[in-house]
């Protein structure tokens, strides 16, 4: 650490010197004010004026990993219909270090309502109508990026994020406009592989049991994603 400070103190005066007009430093590194010398007069007899053009490589081939794709599995509760296993896939695009947009598709199944169990009568829904499938389009923000430490020698990048969005849920024979919001924790095993723990609430209106009401459907899931 100390040597870095020493270097820093050595380098800073060098920079100051460079900025104050040391031509050699400028030519060597190409920074500072670009003082273009006045065009040299063409000597008599020379008829060709040389034009040297520097080749600029504008777009270097650097592996850009802003997309994240993965699968998740967890438990989702459908209001009045019990909890069941939910699974799905998720695709995210990281716009900045903070913001990302995300699309997800998930599927679960509703159980029997308490009414159906107690009355023992005809079921409210057919088996295919009990399937719940949703898609969501969300905007998320990495609210608390940081590092997680495992023991003495290992550090992993992590982020606590929030996300909210809208989509459509197919349940009980109809597509329903739904909104969702939630929070999750991303734990990066490496720069390209991440583990997720995610909790969210899916809301939609349903009029299946007489009057129309807004239902909350909580979902907790565990996922793994790959950046590409």
């Amino acid at each position: 650490m100390e040597s870095w400070f020493r270097l820093l103190f050595l380098v800073l005066p060098a920079l100051a010197f460079g900025l104050s007009g040391c031509a050699a430093t400028k030519n060597l590194f190409g920074w500072g004010d670009s003082e273009t010398p006045p065009p040299a007069e063409i000597p008599e007899g020379q008829i060709i004026e040389m034009e040297v053009q520097r080749r600029e490589i504008k777009e270097p081939d650097i592996d850009s990993e802003d997309f994240e794709i993965g699968a998740f599995v967890g438990v989702m509760s459908i209001e009045d219909f019990g909890s069941n296993v939910v699974y799905g896939v998720r695709l995210a695009y990281h716009v900045t270090e903070g913001f990302f947009v995300e699309g997800s598709v998930g599927q679960t199944e509703g159980g029997l309502t308490s009414f159906e169990i107690l009355s023992g009568g005809a079921p409210l829904l057919s088996d295919s109508e009990r399937q719940l499938t949703y898609y969501n389009l969300n905007v998320g923000y990495n609210i608390l990026p940081g590092e997680g430490f495992v023991g003495e020698g290992r550090a992993y990048n992590t982020a606590l994020y929030v996300s909210a969005g809208l989509g459509s849920t197919r349940f009980a024979g109809d597509d329903r406009f739904s909104v969702n919001f939630g929070a999750g924790y991303r734990f990066l095993l490496s720069d390209s592989i991440a583990l997720h723990v995610d909790f969210r609430d899916h809301l939609f209106d349903i009029d299946l049991l007489g009057e129309e009401k807004t239902v909350h459907n909580l979902e907790g899931s565990f996922g793994i994603t790959v950046f590409f």
């Binding site: 060597l28 080749r55 650097i62 592996d63 389009l137 990048n157 406009f177």
Partner: protein, 266 residues
Amino acid sequence: MSERNTTTIPSTPRLTRFPGSAAAILLLLLSQAASTAVAQAAGEYRTVAVADPYLELHTGPGVGFPIFHVIDRGETVEIIMRRTDWFKVRGPKGTEGWVDRAQMERTLQPTGSQIEFAQANQQDFTDAKWEFGLLAGDFGGANIISLYGGYSLNPNVSIEVWGSQILGNFSNGWMGSVNVVHETWPEWRFSPFFTLGAGVIHTEPKSTIVQGEDRTDQIAHAGAGFRFYATRRFILRAEYKSYVVFTSRDDNEEVEEWKVGFAFFF
């Protein structure tokens, strides 16, 4: 770096006679490369030389991650990958860390010229050919979620293909349409546009409603809106469209639509 290249260095011919001379040449070359701040790209990664007094390495791709290492001016680093505006680099001693774009732009290529990293800006917002987006809003009292893809014929005129899902209280459906969009001032950050289009709409009554049947009708629409350049490849967009649905009944239906959303250009 092949050995054949190294023999072309005039000051090292004698070394080639000794075993293990390749390593010696390599070392010599490396020191030479460092001293002139010019390095050949070694291996699969792009190599750049540090031109700032020092390059700051963060532990992660974000401003909050601490700086744990610095690489001095003149030394070379390999660029391993990029995430948003952060670059993962490997220093001469194998130390890996994340550097922000502003600092990376002050590094030098092996040719000695300054490096430029692709970064979408407002000019690309005007000139970009492809655009993909997502909008949501109100379609005659129902909710609507739309995805679209657009292709610019020139900065002013583009063609868009839209697919929408409509989720109402009494009926659901989908709609597909093709639009022509005209931007009057495409170079403005806040760029208004006008649009005309045609397509089809399919509606099906909800299962709790007894009467009614599925219908597919043709539609035509006119509209206006604006695109706003937010950051990087990101656009915010809002629009109003007035639809005419050519029903098989005597009267045509008119529907108004309001939507907001975001899009990306490429």
